[in-house]
Symmetry: C2
Subunit: 656 residues, 2 copies
C-alpha cells in the first residue's frame, strides 16, 4: 500500500515539474533532486532523457535560472519606465490560433503547410491523461489516508517545534539588528486594481474631483456629453453629502455567500455610471480618474517603503482592441510605481458575452486575449504601447465566482474552443487549460526573444469543486485563496511537497465564503504550506489606511501569529510575487534562490534560521519518504548533506 501511494505522489510531482518547466514557470530544486534520485517513472509523453534534463536544470539552476521565468528588471534611476527606444525588431512570424492555442509560423506559407516553428506546444491528450491520473489519485482511499496522516503529523510536529523553539526563534530575531516586521518587505500578492484603494480613499477622491472638475465633461451618456455636475445631478446626488455608507462599496453581512451581491458592490452608490467614471480605464476621460487613484495608492506605498502590491487589470476577451486600449491608458497616464507589479486578470464570463452575441465561440475569446500579446511579442515596433505595457506585466490571473458549477466535464471529447458555440460556460479546468496552453507557447517565444515571461496565477479553491485545485496543480505557478485544500488531503499534501505559493485573503473570505476564525491559513502555515497574506479588495473589505497591515494585524491577533510567523509569511509573499530577481535579491538577500536556511538572510527577512532549518528538514523528510518508496534506487539521507544541519546546535523537536 505504502509503496503504491508513494509511487502515485511521486508521479504527481513529476507531472507538476514537467508542466512548470515546459511553461517557463517555477518548480523548486529540492523536490527535483529527490525525483531525480528516485526511479524515472513512466510519464505520459515525457521521455526519459528530458525528465533527467529538467531535473538537472532545476538542480543546477534553481528557481530563477535561465530556464525559469524571466522578470523585467527594475527601472533604473533616470530611466523612463515607458521608453520605447529599446524595443525589439520585428521577427515577421505568422501567428494563428488552432484549436484554441496560438501557433507560431515563420510565415503565412508555413502556416498553410502546418509547419509551426520549433517551440514547445501543449498536448491536450497528455494533459487529459495526466489529469485523469491525478483525478484517480486524489480519490484513492490509501492515498487519502496516507496524506491525511502525514498532514496531521506535520501539524503536530510544528506545534512541538514551536513549544520547544519559540523562545529561541524570538531570541534570534531580537539579536537581529535593525530589522523587524515593520521594515521587512511584504507584497500584497492578490489585489484587484479596481478595488485597490480603500472606501474612504475613493470617497475622498470623488469629493476632490468634484471640487476641481465640476464643469468638466466627464461622461458620455449615449452621445449626450455630461459634466461632472450634470452627472451627479442626474443621479440625484451631491458629492458633499456622500459618505462611505451611501457610497456602499463595502462588503457586509449581506454579501456572505453572495458573490453576485459582492460584484454589484463595485458600483459606487449603486450607480454603474460612477464605476465607469472612477474605476474604469475606458470612458470619456480615458480612465484618467482611475489612473490617478491608482497612482495615489502607489505613492502611499512608496512612502511606506516596505510594502508592494500586485494589482490585476482586466482583459475580458470580448474584443481584439482591449489590449491596445488598456496599454494606451497605461502609457498615457504613466501608471507606474516601483512598488507595483501588474497582472492581467481574465474573468471567466464567456457565457455572458455569448448570450449577448458578442462572441461567436469560445475560441474567439481566447484569440482576443492572446493573439494581440503574441503580435506585440513578434513585432514590438508595431505595438509599441502594448510592448511597454507587457514589460510591466508579470502574470495572468483567472477570476470569477468558483461556486458556480458549469456542468461540463473536460475530456478529450470536449468540443474544441472554436466549436464551443453554446451559451454554457466552459468548466474551470477548460478555461485554465487553454490559458495555460497559450501562456506556455507565449513564454517560450518571449524567453527566446529575451523578453519577460508570465506566471499563471489563477484564483483557485476559493469555492467550488476541488478539481480546480487539481487543474492549478498542473498549470499554475501559484494560486490565490486555496481554501478548498481543506477538503482534499491529497492535494493539500501535494501543494506542500511542491511548495506551491498560496496568496490567502482571510478578510475577503470572511465577507464572502468562510468565517475568519475558521480560515485554514494558520493550519496551512503550521503544516508548512507556502502561504502569503493578501487583501483581495481593500475597497470592499478593509477599514484602515493600510489594508495590507490591517490584514497582517488581524491575522496576528486572531491566529496568534508570532513575529517569526509573520516575517515568514512576508518572505513567502516576496518569493511568490512577480518582483524581479534584482529586487528579490535586495529584499531577501543575494542567496534567496537557495532553498532552506542557506537561502535566508535573516538581516533582510527577520525569519529565524531555526525556523528555516525546521521547515527545510521537515520538507526533505517528507520528500525522502516519497522518493524512497516511490523510486527504486535508494537516495542518500537528505539530513546527511542537508545545509540545515549546520543549524542544529539549538534544541530540536527530536521527531526527525
Amino acid at each position: 500500500d505504502f509503496e503504491v501511494v508513494c509511487k502515485g505522489l511521486y508521479r504527481a510531482l513529476c507531472i507538476r515539474e514537467k508542466y512548470m518547466e515546459k511553461s517557463v514557470q517555477r518548480f523548486p530544486r529540492t523536490p527535483s533532486q529527490y525525483l531525480l534520485q528516485g526511479c524515472p517513472c513512466p510519464l505520459s509523453g515525457v521521455e526519459e532523457h528530458s525528465r533527467l534534463v529538467w531535473s538537472w536544470q532545476a538542480a543546477c539552476a534553481s528557481w530563477y535560472s535561465p530556464f525559469g521565468p524571466v522578470f523585467t528588471p527594475p527601472v533604473k534611476d533616470g530611466q523612463d519606465p515607458f521608453t520605447t527606444e529599446d524595443l525589439e525588431e520585428d521577427l515577421g512570424y505568422h501567428i494563428q490560433m488552432k484549436d484554441g492555442v496560438v501557433y507560431i509560423y515563420s510565415d503565412k506559407a508555413a502556416a498553410d503547410r502546418n509547419e509551426p516553428k520549433d517551440l514547445p506546444y501543449p498536448s491536450l491528450e497528455h494533459f487529459i491523461d495526466d489529469m485523469n491520473f491525478l483525478l484517480a489519485l486524489i480519490a484513492q482511499g490509501p492515498v487519502k489516508t496516507y496524506t491525511h496522516r502525514r498532514l496531521k503529523f506535520l501539524l503536530s510536529k510544528f506545534q512541538v517545534h514551536e513549544m520547544l523553539n519559540e523562545m529561541e526563534e524570538m531570541k534570534e530575531l531580537k539579536n537581529n539588528p535593525h530589522r523587524d516586521f515593520y521594515n521587512c518587505r511584504k507584497v500584497d500578492t492578490h489585489i484587484h486594481a479596481a478595488a485597490c484603494m480603500n472606501q474612504k480613499h475613493l470617497l475622498r477622491f470623488i469629493k476632490k474631483s468634484y471640487r476641481v472638475d465640476a464643469d468638466r465633461v466627464v461622461y458620455d451618456a449615449k452621445g449626450k456629453q455630461l459634466t461632472l455636475k450634470q452627472l451627479f445631478q442626474q443621479l440625484g446626488l451631491h458629492p458633499y453629502d456622500l459618505t462611505v455608507d451611501s457610497l456602499d462599496v463595502h462588503a457586509g453581512r449581506q454579501t456572505f455567500q453572495r458573490f453576485d451581491k459582492f460584484n454589484a458592490k463595485y458600483n459606487p452608490v449603486g450607480a454603474s455610471e460612477l464605476r465607469d467614471l472612477y474605476l474604469k480605464t475606458e470612458n470619456a476621460i480615458n480612465g484618467e480618474y482611475f489612473a490617478t487613484i491608482i497612482k495615489e495608492v502607489g505613492s502611499d506605498l512608496e512612502d511606506a517603503k516596505y510594502q508592494h502590491t500586485e494589482p490585476r487589470l482586466s482583459i475580458y476577451g470580448c474584443s481584439a482592441e482591449e489590449w491596445s486600449k488598456l496599454a494606451s491608458w497605461f502609457n498615457k497616464h504613466r501608471v507606474y510605481s516601483p512598488n507595483m507589479k501588474w497582472m492581467i486578470q481574465i474573468p471567466r464570463i464567456y457565457d455572458v458575452f455569448r448570450s449577448k452575441n458578442f462572441l461567436p465561440h469560445f475560441g474567439k475569446m481566447l484569440e482576443n486575449i492572446f493573439v494581440p500579446v503574441f503580435e506585440a511579442t513578434v513585432n514590438p515596433q508595431a505595438h509599441k504601447e502594448l510592448s511597454v505595457f507587457l514589460h510591466h506585466i508579470t502574470g495572468f490571473d483567472s477570476v470569477d465566482d468558483e461556486s458556480k458549477h458549469s456542468g461540463h466535464m473536460f475530456s478529450t471529447k470536449s468540443p474544441k474552443p472554436e466549436q464551443w458555440t453554446c451559451e454554457k460556460n466552459p468548466s474551470y479546468t477548460y478555461y485554465v487549460y487553454y490559458m495555460y496552453a497559450n501562456i506556455l507557447v507565449l513564454n517560450n517565444l518571449r524567453r527566446q526573444r529575451g523578453m519577460n515571461t508570465f506566471l499563471f496565477r489563477p484564483h483557485c479553491g476559493e469555492a467550488g469543486a476541488v478539481t480546480h485545485l487539481l487543474a492549478a496543480f498542473m498549470t499554475a505557478d501559484n494560486i490565490s485563496h486555496g481554501l478548498n485544500l481543506k477538503k482534499s488531503p491529497v492535494l493539500q499534501y501535494l501543494y506542500f511537497l511542491a511548495q506551491i505559493p498560496i496568496a490567502m485573503s482571510p478578510l475577503s473570505n470572511n465577507s464572502l465564503f468562510l468565517e475568519y476564525a475558521k480560515n485554514p491559513l494558520p493550519e496551512f502555515h503550521q503544516k508548512g504550506l507556502m502561504v502569503s497574506l493578501s487583501t483581495d479588495d481593500p475597497m470592499q473589505f478593509h477599514y484602515t489606511k493600510e489594508p495590507l497591515m490591517e490584514e497582517y494585524a488581524i491575522a496576528a491577533q486572531v491566529f496568534k501569529l508570532s513575529t517569526c510567523d509573520m516575517c515568514e509569511i512576508a518572505r513567502n509573499s516576496v518569493l511568490q510575487c512577480g518582483l524581479s530577481h534584482e529586487e528579490k535579491a535586495m529584499f531577501l538577500g543575494e542567496n534567496y534562490q537557495a532553498e532552506g536556511p542557506q537561502g535566508n538572510d535573516i538581516r533582510k527577512t527577520n525569519v529565524a534560521q531555526i525556523r528555516m532549518a525546521y521547515r527545510y528538514e521537515t520538507w526533505c523528510y517528507e520528500l525522502n519518504l516519497i522518493a524512497e518508496a516511490g523510486g527504486c534506487s535508494s537516495p542518500p539521507d537528505p539530513l546527511d548533506e542537508s545545509p540545515a544541519s549546520s543549524f542544529t546546535t539549538v534544541p530540536r523537536t527530536g521527531l526527525l
Copy 2:
C-alpha cells in the same frame, strides 16, 4: 416568585441610583422615572423624601444636570489651558482623614470638636448593608433564572430586530448626508498613558532622541550622571540596531494568563532604565521624553480629528509629593491636547509598598492619594499647578491584576484603613469603597465650589471574582472590561437596566485573558448593554498607526458588526467619557442628554433612529416589568408615551 425577584431588582436599582446621586455621578433618567412610579422601597439609610427628590432631580435634569457631574468646559480659542489666573480663593477649611475618609471642617477647632462641614459623607454601615443585600440577590436561584431568561430573550429579540430592520437601518444611514463611521466621533475610553503610543512609535522616538540628544545627561544611576550615549553603552545596545523585536514591549503568546509577564513588558529591551527614561514622569530629565511622546500621540489625534482618548496617569499613594510632582510635569511640559482627557489611575499595590515599609498602613496610602487633592480644592492658590492639573482630570481609575485573590472579605468588622497595617493587600471591594468614599466627599466639595468633579471608572471584571462587578455597580459611574458579567446573569441584567457604560478592549483580552472569538462584546452589545471599544495599551497590543481604528476594524470584521453597530458603539464611547457637556453636544447633538431616539442626532452620530427606538423600547419594556411587579402602583405603559413610538412606522419585531 416573579414579584420577589422584581422587588429585588427594583431595590438594586434604587441602591445604585442612591450611590450615584450622592457621589455626583450619573444615573439615567428613564429608570429613575420607573423607580419613582413604583412603590418607594425600604432602602437602608435612605429616607422616603430623599428617594423622591433624587428621582425628581434625575427626571427633570437628566444626566448632565446641575446635580450631576461637572466637567471642565473645553479650552476656548486663544485661552491658555494652563492659566492660573482664575483660580478660586482659599476657603481656609481644615482637612482631616478619619477612618480612611477625608472630612472637611471649617477650621482646626471644628475638627477637634468633630463637627465636619455639612457635606454628604459616606456611611460604611449602609454600604455593607446594601452590599450584603446585593450579594444575596445575585446568588438567589429565582433571580438568576429570571435574569438569565430575560437576557436570553433580549439577545433573540435583537437578532429578530436585526433580521427585520437591518436594511432599513442601513437605508437611514445611507440617506444621512456627510456622516459616516469615519467622521463620527469616537473616544478611546480606556488607555494607559505609559502605553498610549504604539511600539513602532516608541522605537522611532528612541532612535530620534539618540540622534539629537546622544551627549545629553539624561539618567542618574545612583548619583552617577549618564548621557544617553553612556546609558545605551551601559546596556550594551546601539539604538540604530534596535527593532520592535528587541524592544520587546509587545504582548505575545507568552503573556496569556500571565499578568506579571505583561507588566514586565513595559520595560523596553527588558531594561527598567529605559522605562524610567522614556515612559515616566519623574527622572533626570523631568519626564520630558514621556511628555513629548504623549504630545505626539495627541497631535496625531488632532490631525485625525474624530478620535479622542482618555489616558490614565498613575498616582501610587506611596508619598504625599506624587501629586505635586505629576502636576508639575504636566504644567512644565504643557501636556495638553484638545483630543485628550486625563484620568488618574491608582494601582492596587499597597502590599508592595507595605512590604518595603514605605507605608505604615493602608490609611496612609489613602491620605497620600486624596488629601493633596482636597487641599488643592480648598486652597487652589497655594497649589496652583495641581489645581490646573485637576481641571484637566475627569476621573479616577483603580487598576491591577484582578485575578490575584486577596483572601479578605469586606465587612463592618474589617479593620479601618488606619488599622490595616498587615502586609496583605485589602480586597478589591475594600479598595473600591474607600476610593468611592473619598471621591464622594471630594465631588460634593468641588461641586459646591463650582469646580469640575470626577467620575470613578475602575478596571472591573477583567478577571477575578464577580463581587468586583457588584462593588462597581454600587460605586462606579462606569467600568473598564466587564468580561466577568458573563458569569453573573443578575449583574449583567442590572448593568443593562442601569445602562452602566463598559469600556471593552477585546484585543487586550485576547493577549491576556480571553481569546478574541470568545469575547462577550458582541453578545453584550446585542443584548443592549452600553459597551464602547477601547485599546487599553496600544504599545502592547496593536500593530497599526491608528490603534483605535484597528480595534474597531477587527471587531467589525470578526464580530461582523454593521455600520450602525459601530456607530452606536462610537456614540456610547462619547457618552461614557469625560468630555465636557459642550463637546458632547457638539459631537452628538444638542439634545444628547435625552434618552432614547430623541437624544440621537443622526446627522452627528450616524446611528439609525430605528436602532435607537428599538433600544429604548426594549429598555423601557424591561424596566416596566420590574417597576410593575417590584412597585405597588401601576405605572403607565411606557410605550404609550414613549418618544420611540413616533418611529414605529418601520417594520418591527412584533415581539413587544
